[in-house]
Amino acid sequence: MIYLDNSATTKPYKEVVDAYTAVASNFFGNPSSLHTLGMKAEGLITESRNRIAELLDVKPVEIIFTSGGTEGNNLAIKGAAKAKQKRGKHLITTVVEHPSVMEAFAQLEQDGYEVTYLPVDQEGRVEVAQVEAAIRPDTTLLSIIHVNNETGAIQPIEKIGEMLERYPRIYFHVDHVQGISKVPLNLRKARIDFSTFSAHKFHGMKGTGFLFVREGIKLAPLFEGGSQENGLRAGTENTAGIVSMAKALRMAKNQENEHEQLYKLRETFIRKLNAIDGIVINSPADQVAPHIVNFSIPGAKPEVVVQSLSSKGIYVSTKSACSSKLSAPSRVLSAMGLSDERAISGIRVSFSFDTTAAEVNQLLTELEVIIPELLEVVKS
């Protein structure tokens, strides 16, 4: 099996699964229970919180455990908008966000908020000046994805953060789900107030994630219930998921120094892809994550490519997994100004640190066979 759909989800590290099993079997007490079993579970959650905070160089109290990226994005965006609604109801985001961000804003629009969706350039990036131009006196929140999940384009988060120093009253949310461990981002230096993380994108288990919430910031919770996570996230904590997430984050951060290798692999892959007739690369050339390559085969249906590769045991995807079942043009590729034909035929290949040159070559070999056949059928 050659798994090249790591932007959709990653394979959990074996050590992570082991830790999950051990915690789920031995420390199953409810962390809120008063007895010893509950205390042990609570102790593990505290320890996980401390370790995650240390890995990210933030304070433990700034880590709120969630069920993953979608919940984190919803909590940050809706929670911040609601908490600040007395001051204003204008929000800013971009047209290339993840569906969980887009839909959260869409819902807020129905609730009477006004949202500015910033356009992107041909490489899928917003400009700092554009962001600043969109700011109004009643703007309360800016939300921008760090690494785009379809193309790998990196947004100029640090520069935007620097600009926002002049607007201390605007909250800054960054969806860091694709970026963590792949593209470094210093939350403090970038003046970020909220940042979303999801364990299954860094070889942890699905159903666990966390939201960084800068100390002293108020959010309205999404759920009513218990007072877990500082009252921001009611519901019994997923102890096993949380502990194994702390482990996954440590292991993933350990691989951070292998970026160069991944960038080299990516570069070689793109060079060879370019040599295949019928392929155009959609990912930008620079300011891009080391693990994502997006390309189109205009004229070919991407599902067919995915299926043919799948039958050979090679797994890639079309656009974002969260919207890949719809056979519409990719919203992100369209926003970059690409033609419908190109936006509808995008293929995404995403590596992990364990991806080898041999695996990538195998994919190239298969593509060299599939693509001419496909395009032949289209022509006839």
Binding site: M39, S244, K247
Partner: protein, 401 residues
């Protein structure tokens, strides 16, 4: 970016200590060594009036975090060494400036401890400042109130470039003022009292009274966590956990309700004094603040204090609650302190405590209780925990992470 190769640590009040000075300096050096033990490759040495930490390629940030919590440090700055060569100094000063964010103005403060160096101070300021100006954009010189003051110190063997000064916490090195036994409840005040006691150079041990099974494991864990957070400033803390239930039951059945609180406090002091004696500790410490609650009126303190001859250190005695809360938040104990668990004082709290108890009256009722027997028993069953300033997690769960 790891541009700095060492950190210069300056002492404050130690300079006033005359002949004892070297003792204080050695204590401080040891305390710093203990605190940065987990960071590899560091080398520490004492030069006259300063401690120099050689980073040897380590990132300075974790070291800076540790130093901010070590009492006896007045200030410290990041520095790096260049050759006695104008070009090297110019480049060095520029690097230091570029390492800092949001800088609009700067100045150069040159110092020539090595007089034979061909350029004098004024020339150095000009040459280095000029170089920085031509190689940056949007940055100007401000000699009066600069965002960054870059010190260039020319010595015989090398030149030291420093900037980014940090304030230390002041106070005296922990361990230079003997040891205090801190009465640690689960509340906001006593950890702050412990912190302030450490600040004056005293080591602390802590004593906590709990009432199993009425108080639960979490209340106990909360106190362990509080003691643990003090280890950040005092390296290690021994925590004595005294089972207090039997004493409380005895008082509850033998003493009129309006004096129960007073007698309970006196029993706590008696037990604490016994532990202090056993451990060679010369004073007790509490988080009492005058007039805060019934047990902290002057009448109460007078009556409670009667049973011990040890000095009682009360760093908070004249503070307002809000001042105490400020410190608790600053030292990171507040969040733990406000966790809502029953403690030994609330479990048996009578509704009608006297705010003006009298010594004679209290002594009269105490005749009817078996003081020594209960003190002996409580001390004998006291559990002792050693908490240190390192990761506190047992092996059972370490491999989960």
């Amino acid at each position: 970016m790891m541009i700095y190769d060492h950190i210069l640590v300056r002492f404050g009040e130690l300079a006033l200590k005359g002949k004892n000075r070297s003792v204080f300096e050695k204590h401080l050096l040891e305390n710093i060594k203990m605190s940065v033990k987990s960071i590899p490759n560091l080398k520490l040495k004492r030069t006259y009036g300063r401690i120099v930490i050689e980073l040897n390629g380590q990132n300075h940030e974790p070291v800076v975090e540790k130093l901010k919590h070590i009492f006896g440090i007045h200030s410290f700055s990041l520095a790096f060494k260049v050759e006695n060569d104008l070009q090297a100094m110019q480049k060095g000063a520029l690097t230091v400036l570029q390492d800092r964010a949001n800088v609009r103005t700067f100045k150069i403060t040159a110092k020539r401890a090595y007089k034979p160096f061909p350029l004098d101070t004024m020339q150095l300021n000009r040459e280095i400042g000029g170089y920085v100006l031509t190689n940056t954009e949007g940055i100007t010189v401000d000699v009066h109130n600069p965002d960054v003051n870059i010190h260039v110190e020319v010595r015989e063997t090398a030149t030291y470039i420093t900037s980014a000064s940090y304030d230390g916490p002041g106070g005296l090195p922990v361990g230079t003022s003997g040891k205090v036994l801190l009465l640690l409840s689960g509340g906001i005040d006593s950890p702050v009292a412990g912190y302030l006691t450490l600040k004056r150079g005293a080591k602390i041990e802590a004593v906590h009274f709990h009432s199993p099974p009425y108080t639960n494991e979490r209340a106990k864990q909360k106190v362990i966590d509080l003691a643990q957070s003090l280890t950040k400033y005092g390296n290690s803390v021994v925590l004595h956990l005294v089972p207090f239930t039997e004493v409380q039951k005895h008082i509850h059945s033998e003493i009129p309700s309006n004096l129960q609180m007073t007698v309970m406090r006196r029993m706590m002091l008696r037990i604490s004094e016994r532990i202090a004696n056993e451990r060679g500790i010369l004073a007790l410490g509490t988080g009492e603040s005058l007039g805060q609650v019934a047990s902290q009126t002057l009448h109460s303190m007078n009556t409670i204090n009667e049973v011990t001859n040890l000095p009682i250190i009360r760093p908070l005695v004249t503070m307002d609650k809000l001042e105490v809360i400020d410190i608790a938040q600053k030292i990171g104990t507040f969040e733990t302190s406000i966790l809502p668990f029953e403690d030994c004082c609330t479990i048996f709290l009578p509704p009608d405590s006297k705010t003006r108890p009298k010594r004679e009256q209290t002594n009269k009722y105490e005749q009817y209780i078996e003081i020594d027997k209960y003190v002996d028993d409580a001390v004998a069953r006291t559990e002792k925990l050693l908490l240190t300033n390192t990761k506190r997690i047992n092996n059972e769960v370490e491999d989960l992470f």
